[in-house]
């Protein structure tokens, strides 16, 4: 009798397995690839970014957002090395990916020719405007670093009281950091009412006293940064120690610090502590310290897949979700149009994502617009500033005027 029950149970299991297998076999699997720095330099950003992408694709599959079809996105660590990124990319191509998600400025520029030859749409985590030069297949998720810096400079010009505002740029010694400098200079030449006093390329200094004193001696009032959080944290901590930090925007005789996407976020507050107070930061992502529908969904996603609070609150987690959202949306629209999901059709779908067809992911401060002539996704940028230990929104999302003039 026991053996009969056992056989029946076994039979039921076999039938269930066969049924499940046949259900899975009914759907198509769309292969994607992502290579980024989960370890090594900039992994503080890459790690939550990877988690965001991984979680969102899991969510797409779990909730059957694409019906029976599923997304299979392989995520590989490249340790911020272009050689490894290239190897990962080759592997993904061997696997037959239909779209590729990349990370650093260096590797995006390094593999640009490969993207062109393979005619594959790419969404990098680098918002370097130079990525778009001579490329047809790279789509920046949000407005470029140039847009971000010019936008901050415009904000300074608009809100500064008194004579022409004196501004210094504090940039990373690489294409990532240097890229926007010439665009800010062009904007100034085109009539933007600020005076660019100095461009500082930071090293690995643990003390910025000399630099800050020099800037003060030149009557600089605003320092706009295009780098990563750690050098900014060092600088603003030194400024606080020296009593040079403005307590409100544009306080006379003091320094107001501002910065682009990768300079800010919760990691900056964790690194700089009180010194981060009154730091102005621009990005195109909603952040959890300014609650809204988007951030509620972001936190729910993080909770669903067991992420810790640090990852859940990270704007890089939001950025990782965002590229997964755009990719999923491209697949959905291509499917809805009755087209085969392949590299060419996804590329065309992305190019049509504009106007009435613009896509509104819950993670960003504005819609994603792509076309054959504009491959910068979210144009609306939001300025935040640290108030009481958290980033709070400053005004409404805005778009740079001078970038349109100098383009």
């Amino acid at each position: 009798m026991k053996s009969k029950n056992f056989l029946t149970a076994l039979l039921i299991l076999v039938v269930m397995f066969a049924f499940t297998a046949s259900v899975n076999a009914g759907g198509k699997v769309y292969k994607l690839g992502m290579s980024l720095a989960i370890t090594g330099p900039t992994s503080d950003a890459g790690n939550p970014y990877a988690k965001g992408t991984e979680d969102y694709f899991k969510f797409v599959n779990d909730t059957k957002m694409l019906g029976e079809d599923t997304i299979d996105c392989t995520i590989r660590d490249d340790q911020y090395k272009t050689d490894v990124t290239k190897r990962n990319f080759e592997e993904y191509l061997d696997n037959g990916i239909v779209m590729y998600l990349n990370y650093s400025t260096g590797s995006t520029l390094g593999l640009k020719r490969d993207f062109e030859e393979e005619e594959i749409a790419v969404l990098p985590a680098s918002y370097h405007a130079g990525n778009l030069d001579g490329s047809n297949y790279i789509f920046l998720p949000i407005a470029s670093y140039s847009d971000q810096l010019v936008n901050l400079a415009e904000y300074v010009a608009k809100h500064h009281k008194g004579a022409k505002a004196k501004v210094a740029l504090f940039v990373h010694p690489s294409a990532f950091g240097r890229g926007p400098v010439s665009d800010v200079e062009k904007a100034v030449a085109a009539g933007l009412n600020i005076e660019l006093i100095e461009v500082v390329e930071h090293g690995k200094d643990l003390d910025n006293t000399a630099m800050l004193k020099r800037l003060m001696s030149k009557n600089v009032q605003y320092v706009i940064s295009q780098t990563i959080q750690s050098p900014v944290a060092t600088m603003i901590k030194d400024s606080q120690r020296l009593g040079l930090t403005a307590s409100s925007f544009g306080e006379a005789g003091k320094l107001t610090f501002m910065g682009a996407h990768y300079t800010g976020g919760n990691d900056l507050i964790a690194l700089a502590g009180d010194a981060a107070e009154n730091y102005f930061w621009i990005t195109a992502f909603n952040i959890t310290s300014v609650p809204g529908e988007g951030t509620t969904k972001q936190l729910a996603l993080a909770k669903k897949y067991g992420r810790d609070q640090k990852a859940a609150d990270s704007h890089n987690y939001a950025a990782g979700i965002m590229v997964a959202q755009v990719t999923t949306e491209a697949i959905k629209r291509t499917k809805a149009a009755g087209l085969e999901i392949n590299k060419a059709n996804l590329y065309n779908t992305l190019n049509k994502m504009n106007g009435a067809n613009a896509y509104n992911p819950y993670t960003t401060t504005g819609p994603v617009n792509y076309s054959k002539t504009d491959r910068m996704g979210v144009d609306l940028l939001q300025i935040y500033s640290v108030q009481g230990g958290v980033f709070k929104a400053v005004g409404k999302p805005l778009e740079s005027e001078y970038m349109k003039k100098i383009k």
Partner: protein, 364 residues
């Protein structure tokens, strides 16, 4: 020598020339020829994916670079921790041409063998210049001198607009007799080219070590004063050891530029220099075959650890940081274990295996 050239048994030499033969028996030559046929033939039988072909190309490029490092550090006993900068010199020689005449200029795309040799020569010139402190410095002090060259190289590349401030400078696709080497054949094509270069340079080192110049390297390493007393010129030997290493590194750099179709600063950092040194140590310093074993071991270990971390990551999706610990941990552990238990490197295992197989047919 014995009448039977196929067996080592009973062989004895009557001249130094006989003793200096590359292959002692016809069996040795045949085995080596068979091995070469295998190396050239396998990709035609087993089609490897682009990813793994790139890995294999990368290993071969590292072999070229490590052969150079082994000459200066292993054979001549001069520590160099700036080897990646020499590799970078070769790569940036190609990049300079691309910047000046355009990446698709006929010189870049058609005369690439000449450019590869030229890059080696530029590497040798820089090697000789950097080797000059070796006339006065030894051991750690010399290591610091090579380290400073690494720093100067990094600074120069990152700040000069001519070198695109370290960002990628593109290199055009090359042509072969059959026409332009397309994307699908790219890695396979370069496999054959790099393999040929490895073999030529390998024979070059083997022959060099049989000459007085090669023996000078070893003599200076063992005791430079004794070498001086015996009529050798230790200063010149040290400088040409660096020049030779620079040549090998320059060739490796040029190959890197062509295989990756671009030159970017990140591939030639201090971290890479340490990597080359690790390959030389693991392979076996002061041995030719160690230059082959080291890169193969380190590069494939790297790949396996990556796979291991990924498998572990599947079971622990939230802990993708596992790779953070695994990679540097295994890299460091392997070097420490080799230094502790097998300082002569994998080359010594090869020697032991060879001596076992020599039991038959009996040599003596």
């Amino acid at each position: 020598m014995s009448a039977n050239l196929w067996l080592a048994t009973g062989n004895f030499f009557t001249t130094y020339k006989q003793e200096q033969r590359t292959f002692l028996t016809s069996l040795d030559r045949s085995v080596f020829t068979f091995f070469l046929v295998l190396l050239f033939g396998w990709p035609l039988v087993f089609e490897l994916s682009n990813k793994y072909m790139l890995v294999v190309d990368n290993v071969l490029i590292a072999i070229v670079a490590v052969m150079g490092l082994n000459l200066v550090t292993g054979f001549a006993g001069l520590i160099s921790i700036g080897h990646a900068a020499f590799v970078g010199i070769g790569a940036y020689t190609i990049a300079s041409f691309c910047q000046t005449i355009g990446e698709s200029h006929i010189i870049i795309t058609h005369f690439w063998p000449v450019l590869i040799v030229f890059s080696g020569i530029v590497g040798a010139v820089f090697g000789a210049i950097v080797g000059l402190p070796a006339l006065r410095l030894k051991h750690l002090y010399l290591a610091i001198a090579t380290l400073s060259f690494q720093m100067i190289f990094e600074w120069t590349i990152q700040f000069m607009t001519f070198f695109n401030q370290g960002q990628t400078i593109y290199v055009g696709r090359v042509f072969w007799f059959t026409g332009k080497v397309g994307r699908s054949d790219h890695y396979l094509f370069w496999y054959f080219i790099i393999l040929t270069i490895v073999i030529l340079l390998g024979f070059g080192i083997r022959n060099l070590l049989k000459t007085r110049y090669g023996r000078c390297l070893v003599a200076v390493r063992d005791n430079d004063r004794a070498a001086d007393a015996m009529g050798m010129n230790p200063g010149l030997t040290k400088v040409y050891a660096f020049a030779l290493a620079g040549f090998f590194a320059g060739v490796a750099g040029a190959l890197h530029a062509y295989v990756y179709r671009g030159v970017g600063f990140e591939s030639f950092t201090l971290h890479e220099s340490i990597g080359y040194l690790a390959m030389a140590i693991v392979g076996g310093l002061g041995t030719l075959n160690g230059s082959f074993w080291g890169p193969v071991a380190i590069k494939f270990l790297d790949l396996q650890v990556e796979t291991l971390a990924e498998i572990a990551g599947q079971y622990m999706p939230s802990s993708m940081n596992l790779a953070t610990a695994l990679k540097p941990f295994t890299f460091g552990l392997v070097i420490v274990l080799f230094l502790m238990f097998e300082p002569r490197g994998i080359a010594n295992w090869w020697r032991i295996i060879k001596s076992y197989t020599k039991l038959w047919p009996f040599r003596y």
